[in-house]
Subunit: 163 residues, 2 copies
């Protein structure tokens, strides 16, 4: 019941790319720095995202990675399923006649409901919206950075909107 680290990292990558001007190409090393993920491991994550057609890669000098589609058209659910395959809360939740208990197991419906709830939430969160939210936050972050390089950094407790 927990997403893998790789999925988490993939989401960071996608949000980072989405917050850039469309079709910007970013080197792996830069992504590694931005997401705080080891370059070696990140390359595996990136490969999976490429294979899932969520990003495109450009090899060679001056190469890098870029979103393959509009950030508004990619949801958190898309990224998650690219990394982990389809969300299936219980083994018996799938199309087709895979589970013969399905017809009578009273829990089946609840699992299905819970799964629908989760996919609804994740499917509604687009990379574009997350990137926009990140921009609002990174503005604060930028302020902080600037201040640190100049004056003592004490605005940490200023953040009252974790929401």
């Amino acid at each position: 019941m927990q997403i893998t680290r790789a999925s988490d990292y993939a989401v960071r990558v996608m949000i980072h790319l989405a917050s850039l001007p469309p079709s910007s190409t970013v080197r792996q090393s830069e992504l590694s720095k931005a997401t705080e993920v080891s370059g070696h491991f990140l390359s595996k994550v990136l490969q999976q995202l490429v294979r899932a057609r969520l990003i495109r890669s450009q090899r060679g000098a001056g190469g890098g990675y870029a979103l393959a589609a509009s950030a508004a058209g990619i949801s958190l659910l898309d990224v998650l399923e690219a990394m982990e395959g389809p969300v299936r809360l219980n083994q018996c939740i799938e199309e087709g006649p895979s589970c013969d208990r399905k017809s009578w197991c009273p829990a089946h419906q609840v699992w299905a409901e819970a799964q629908a709830a989760i996919t609804n939430v994740l499917g509604a969160a687009s990379m574009a919206s997350l990137a926009a939210r990140a921009k609002g936050m990174s503005y604060e972050l930028h302020e902080k950075t600037v201040w640190i390089s100049g004056v003592p950094k004490k605005l940490k407790k200023k953040r009252g909107r974790t929401n």
Copy 2:
């Protein structure tokens, strides 16, 4: 993102117990038959449920397992968390200042929302309600069984209320 087999089995056990008269004691062998789970493995599941105080065990001859509380007071979420620990969709979702990205990571809130969605659904499903639903189904099932032993079984498509 998938519950373990053990959790699934635990839910079957709990529903079975909940569908019996209150504080009935059931032997492991019977539970094994009812849930279609190997006795050896089931014993591990049962032990965990006992330790979580969801069921009580009676040793010795005539012993067995029984619900430790009212079936209405135990939710699917309770059973799940007894088996797998607290639901935590992403590593960074927990109380306390565990994740320093939390303050700015824009995905954090979505994970939290998805988690709330899932716990809402699972927390609302009580063993009592599931057992009641099972009774309704087993009634149909009973009919079917009777029919099969007598006349051709064709009432399958009668169930139009998956809801």
